[in-house]
Symmetry: C3
Subunit: 679 residues, 3 copies
């Protein structure tokens, strides 16, 4: 699959002013038409320059099969154009109307244990459904034709949050599609038998006709079958996207296309999808009850930026304050929404949008905050939104600038899917947990970090971090080996390089394809019991705790920089370092406590000469740089609650305060933000 | 729906002596006929005056479709009549016989995720099933004809514990019935679309034919759909009841009719149902492992008494000792069964019945205690039962007396259903928890309390308490406002008055319909995280803890009587008081700790001049009064384990000890009971 | 059902050397044929003398319906024969090939709530499926014919781990088979109605056609129905076994037959099955994360030995190190695999086999350890395996020797099934927990113990222990009573002797059939709340804690040897002792803490003169004796981590060290093993 050619945002249209796009989902069909005039008036007041409209309009534009009524939506588009608000126009296919599943109940998805999922919520369609795809394409054709030349149209937004609620379907139509997909992938049934290791448990297939999705089974279904089903399911969703994309490419070849990822979402491989978009966009919902929510959000932002190699991306959805779907939904405390919005910009976003413009009166998301709350304009939320709108508009030259990074963290959806399968040494391994455990000390040290798939060109990085890279293709392990041989630095964590692309163990001693570069062999896995911990004794004499996992590491060239200090493996290596070619490779054979992980990361970065954007940052302060035609911008974000002072390497000016005199130090209140430029 | 005319118990029949009815479920079909003579002999020994018979007799009286055999049941009825034991005769329709679901598998209910529920337990019928209703009516017709003039017949007991196990059904027949019900409710599909806010998530219906119950969906089903399905399901059960009731009204117009509620049960709106009964009856199963089980039971008793505006009610089922259906079923310790039975009488019951007379030898309830245990008459249980029978018989004049209350607690099933829907600011809100949090300090202070629906006439009360009255119709909020304006006192807790009858937010700032009377506006909900607490600082300087919920309260006339002392809302109002018209309205914006709730309740009651039945009660002692033609009875119940002394305002005589000399103080042992009368 | 005549292992064949068989599951179809030569070479290196082959070969020998290809398997058999490795030949029916469920989807099992279970794992067949059984028998016929005279064939291994994943099926074919089974059991429908107590809840059946398995129901399904369904399901599996067995008996009447139990597995009544085998075999998977895993394993070993009255048995599967199916799978620490293998031999095993020979490269069990790991021969596991192989081969004369015991612990699958049904006084009762609570102090004291069904001849024992023998047939209670009357000693724990074979309460006061021998009556059950404990005051003045359960015991001849010291039953008996006839009967009315259970067991054993194999054993050391034509062997196993010294009653020689000089004391390191023989 080749990346489609990228169409930059706003090449064709100049309805809205240049700069960071600001706005949100606009769902006027929820309100009587007399409210719409107030909508656009208040949008202007709030600084809205872009809305994404039509997400859930299918039932209203096609109330009966084949009977379309776009007249009301014409008025919506005209209103917005009249107010200078650009539209990221949804294809309206995110949730099919009731008549479709009544006429075609076979579009309803089924769970692995054969339970049908019905209408009443949203996304109640099987991704493989031919009927759904045909009806969706028919609608998109109409939409594209009707609005191709509308002045409000700036972008297309295909579907919405693909795979959020129905990432997989086990119905008979999915089963048939899975067989077709497998047949294309493997050519013949013997290749599938080999890939799936079906000789075990008497699973040898005589024909593709016998193959099914991994439905409810008496015990663990075949892991390679599960892995392929994850790949297939991701692809089935992507085919829905591509079918609509094809219509749009034909009708409006110069309008950029996007779809919004739901954070970093296991069922949807953002790296594969991004290649099929013109612009990456992503929805991020921080949890105000979680103290570290900005670190997890930062990881998502870095994935979004890296997915198209640094191209600016869109924050398509965030909550103005509280959400409605967690068990307990606190609002964002004063200043945090501003801070986290700026964080997105600091990490490469060129659009700050929300779900949604006006808070619903009824329905499942009526308690999801909106830019314009139930309480109206005299509310903290509307005030904070409007102030941010003005603030973003004041620094339009940020748009289009980019960041660079010395460090790359490897994330591979295939490995993620395989790592978290059942019947493993420990089912407690979690890809995101371990990725964040490695990401967090980098984030906190202010070291810029890309997140890349394993087949990305690594030559520009000083350090590559590979957390739990369980599934590793030979050619990817060769790439990592060459990276180190050529002078790169590599940090690999436990249970990496174990299986091939078909979840078959690389024979010859774990982790066979990385043994040479790491200079070691792993003889046995010793996953720890729940709540069990072991000591780790570091070369500097300090002792830390580790949990979750341990391994018998047999050095074959590597040196221990820490060893286990207790437990069955006491005295054996826990962390190793191996000089290889012109570079160095580290291996971590357990889950280190956060402070030990931080110390290790510091060491490794020092060795790799991967330094922070700004030296000597106070705790809780994030710093990033964006640079380009618009200039060079240093972003400082205080994620703490206390005021801090940041020393600058050179006198800079804060573009937000509009102080003109440059300063060599800056004071940031709790949740404070500064955007520094050279004077 | 109009309340049916009430037929008092025992108008027509005088088989049993006057007074509190005593007895239990009698299931002679479980035993060979030679045991039946012993049954009636031991009933006399135990003081049994009434049994409810035939609950599960369908399979035995109609062993094959349309073939009836009542001869054995004739003998049961004759035996009972001969022994002077009145019969509350069940319509035998609680659990259909195996042949019915074999011939008509479509009567079997289905879960929301499409799993059929089968026979083997009980209540395995879809409430909307036409086949079930027809077969039930046919049986009731036979029963009514056969026993209309039987001397043992005192009352009809329709069905049994409606909705206990199968309160809702999602099958195709239920779906069709739901559509019919919606069509009647809304008239046209656009009214439904408006009520359900279907413009969101592309749910607009083009016809009622497209509508389904809220079956398993990829995410939260439409909340108004869920709410209407709760209403419909309650109504479908009620239609089962009414279909049988109609047969009985025709055949035996002068025999009173009841059905037994299962405590205060979310699926069944007791207030609606009670209007269709002649007498309210209720099943109450205290948990001996729960120290506060008598408070929760007291709440149920007050609902039972209030459901028909103070009319005496029947305790239809309680356990003589242990039950069988909790995970761990402890027996009632010595004296507790007596105490809790008297508590029912003290709170208005005119019947004390048990499940069941003779403990089953087999089946699912063989470990449910019975009046006559497996061990026979030489058991603590049989002794305690017999003693209570004699004791109750000694004060026959209690029957028919009534209580009055200055305080009403508002309970609305519609609001309950809506409050506990998903996708809310916090899913941890629980209607019963918050109702009991308000009820408990009233109970412990000895203040009589009715529990009423929001459309009940409030003019006779001094104080109205509305805990989490989330859904509030405009006309009900007007009634509350007028109540305060006219001098009433109102205590409202957080997250009240938020949505209308269709679960749509009342716009204009929360809680719009109560803002005037409460003198405030709520700007934001701040539900607390699990285990999170905040300080509350009261005007008297004390500090207490609160959890679960907090809100940004903007006073508009109200005064803070407590404010948050920590957290994001520190310094903002936590409890307010508002003088309005001739009355006062309080608002509680968080969940206060029990001691703070008690102090607040004391304050509010003092202001409202709502006092206890008896001043200066020792801890753990409950006091109530019943009064009427039979005299005035003061009930004292010691729920503690220690002996206490109660001072009386005037010398009174304990009707149970038969001491003739009145005393101005009385000593109650742990679990002790006194029934005081004026000398 | 009569036990089939037993065919001793190795009567016909002498391929392998005499002695303990050593080896494992051999699945060569997972590997290319060029690996097979290495397999047999390394088997010789590891001391392998027997493999069990073909378990999952069905799909490969019958790749299409009726098309057989045994040629590859011929080569496997020839290779093994050539290397002198005997084969326990599987019938290959454990997991049907994909084509079978595609052609006959009706063979797929269904859950109680109607969800079909699909292929992808293993055991995806309904045990009642006629199609499955026919296809299995057809295959076995072919196999038996082909290999009847093959020199490698030593035994037949029918199926594999019956009931491991699909012990029960609720599909329509199972329902029909259940009806047939019930009809045979009860003759007429009235007998079933009586047995199932269907008069309650209107469950009276008019015909067998109305009966169904206990599928999902609105509430507790009929308990006797559940109990009979457990019996039926066990029998349906056994019929699968017997159908294959019949083919083998015909073709190879002189080849012994076995099937492997999964430890002590609730769905499969090992005592019934063992009667249909020639040799008992069992799979045991210790959990290295559990400190007491060897005690639970010891219990299983004693069941295996007792199942055919002391006949040597086979450890058919154990893990060489880690398994793959728990949540966290630690490896066996150094020495433990050897220790636990010797424990099996010490408790009567004549075969020590593993799952599996060569670790799978792919599939669901690739992380299950194997004799030959992914890492090859230079691994701890291969070394430990090979050393054990040599060690076992060095003492061939152990094979065929037997043990005796003075103590029998009663285990009854019928009672187990009934005990753990729902709707009980406490659902926290667990048959294995309470059995192990009684077994553990015997094990730790070194007292040999058989585990027997209640209809076994008890006359040879001094002490019989009956933990939670809830369901008790009259004739079994008479056997226990006569045992005590004749001088035996009996220890019975709470909630025993409560119901008859149809789960109907024995009337006349609990536990009616044991009241005479125990000299008491139980009036009430007082199950304790979760986390609730009570004191127990022993006659010697010590106080211990108890939990889970308590009862009101009314002595009728018995004397209290401990009483409750707190709670509602303070001062009432907790443990009693009753002299009856020439023996004594104890009763324990609560769950004693482990140390109190140990003290009680010591007392009881002392009274019964049931002593340890070796007096004065250090803590953590297990001692057993096997004796026979091969001599007398004393096994000492140190389950602790520290070195200990064991004094011997007479000078003995350790057969493993090959020290020739006998010694009167022996030093065992942590995990150490000694096999002592008379010099």
């Amino acid at each position: 699959m080749q990346p489609a050619p990228s169409i930059p945002i706003d090449t064709r249209r100049h309805l809205r002013p240049p700069g960071i796009a600001f706005g949100g989902d606009y769902n006027p069909e929820q309100w009587p038409e007399e409210v719409w005039a107030e909508d656009v008036a208040l949008m202007k007041e709030a600084g809205v320059s872009m809305v994404t409209a039509g997400i859930f309009s299918w039932a209203k534009v096609e109330p009966r099969p084949g009977e379309y009524d776009f007249t009301w939506f014409d008025r919506v588009m005209d209103n917005l154009a009249g107010a200078g608000v650009a539209v990221c126009l949804a294809t309206m296919t995110a949730s099919p109307p009731p008549w479709l599943s009544r006429l075609h109940p076979e579009i309803l998805p089924e769970t692995a244990d054969g339970r049908r999922m019905w209408l009443g919520g949203r996304q109640h369609y099987c991704p493989s459904s031919a009927v759904y795809r045909e009806h969706a394409a028919r609608l998109v054709e109409r939409l594209a034709t009707r609005y191709a030349d509308h002045p409000a149209l700036e972008m297309w937004h295909i579907g919405n949050e693909y795979g959020c609620h129905t990432p997989m379907c086990w119905c008979d139509e999915s089963a048939a599609d899975f067989r077709r997909w497998l047949s294309e992938r493997y050519g013949g049934i013997e290749a599938l038998n080999d890939a799936w290791s079906t000789a075990f448990w008497s699973q040898g297939y005589d024909s593709f006709d016998e193959v099914l999705p991994p439905r409810l089974a008496p015990t663990f279904p075949n892991p390679a079958q599960q892995l392929d089903f994850a790949r297939f399911s991701d692809d089935a969703l992507l085919q829905c996207y591509l079918a609509e994309n094809e219509v749009l490419r034909r009708s409006t070849p110069d309008v950029p296309v996007t779809t919004n990822f739901i954070g970093v979402h296991k069922p949807v491989d953002a790296f594969r999808w991004a290649a099929q978009e013109d612009v990456v966009s992503v929805d991020v919902y921080q949890d105000p009850h979680d103290e570290d929510t900005h670190v997890a959000a930062g990881f998502i932002f870095d994935v979004a930026r890296s997915a198209r190699a640094g191209q600016p991306w869109m924050l398509m959805e965030q909550a103005p304050s509280a959400v409605n779907w967690r068990d307990r939904n606190g609002p964002k405390p004063p200043g945090r929404m501003r801070l986290w919005s700026w964080q997105a910009v600091a990490q490469g976003a060129d659009a700050v949008l929300y779900f949604q413009w006006r808070q619903s009166r009824g329905g499942a998301e009526k308690y999801h905050s909106a830019m314009l709350p139930h309480g109206g304009t005299d509310t903290r939320t509307f005030r904070e939104v409007s102030e941010l709108g003005r603030e973003l508009a004041s620094v339009p030259r940020i748009a289009g600038t980019r960041s660079t990074a010395d460090v790359a963290l490897v994330l591979d959806w295939n490995s993620w899917w395989a790592l978290e399968l059942d019947s493993h040494p420990s089912t407690a391994l979690n890809q995101m947990d371990i990725a964040l455990a490695h990401y967090r000390p980098l984030f906190e040290a202010g070291i810029a970090c890309d997140v890349v798939p394993p087949d990305r060109d690594l030559s520009g990085y000083r350090l590559v971090v590979a957390p739990n890279l369980y599934l590793l293709k030979e050619r990817d392990s060769e790439r990592l080996t060459e990276f180190v041989r050529g002078g790169g630095h590599l940090l690999v964590s436990f249970f990496s390089g174990i299986v091939d692309n078909c979840d078959r163990v690389h024979l010859g001693g774990y982790p066979a394809p990385l043994s040479e570069v790491l200079g070691l062999r792993v003889e046995e896995f010793w996953p720890l019991a729940e709540n069990e911990t072991v000591d780790v004794r570091h070369v500097d004499g300090t002792v830390s705790r580790a949990d979750l996992w341990s391994e018998t590491v047999v050095p074959e060239g590597a040196q221990a920089v820490a060893e286990f200090g207790s437990g069955h493996l006491a005295g054996q290596p826990a962390v190793t370092r191996h000089s290889f070619g012109d570079g160095t490779a580290w291996y971590v054979a357990t889950r280190l406590a956060p402070e030990a992980m931080r110390a290790l990361t510091d060491d490794v970065c020092r060795t790799a000469s991967a330094g922070p954007v700004l030296p000597g940052l106070p705790q809780h302060v994030q710093a990033t740089v964006r640079e380009g035609d618009g200039g060079r911008f240093v972003f400082l974000l205080n994620h703490g609650r206390e005021e801090v002072e940041v020393r600058l390497p050179q006198p800079l000016t804060d573009a937000l305060t509009r102080e003109t005199a440059p300063a060599d130090r800056i004071t940031l209140p709790g949740a404070g933000v500064a955007v520094l430029t050279e004077p």
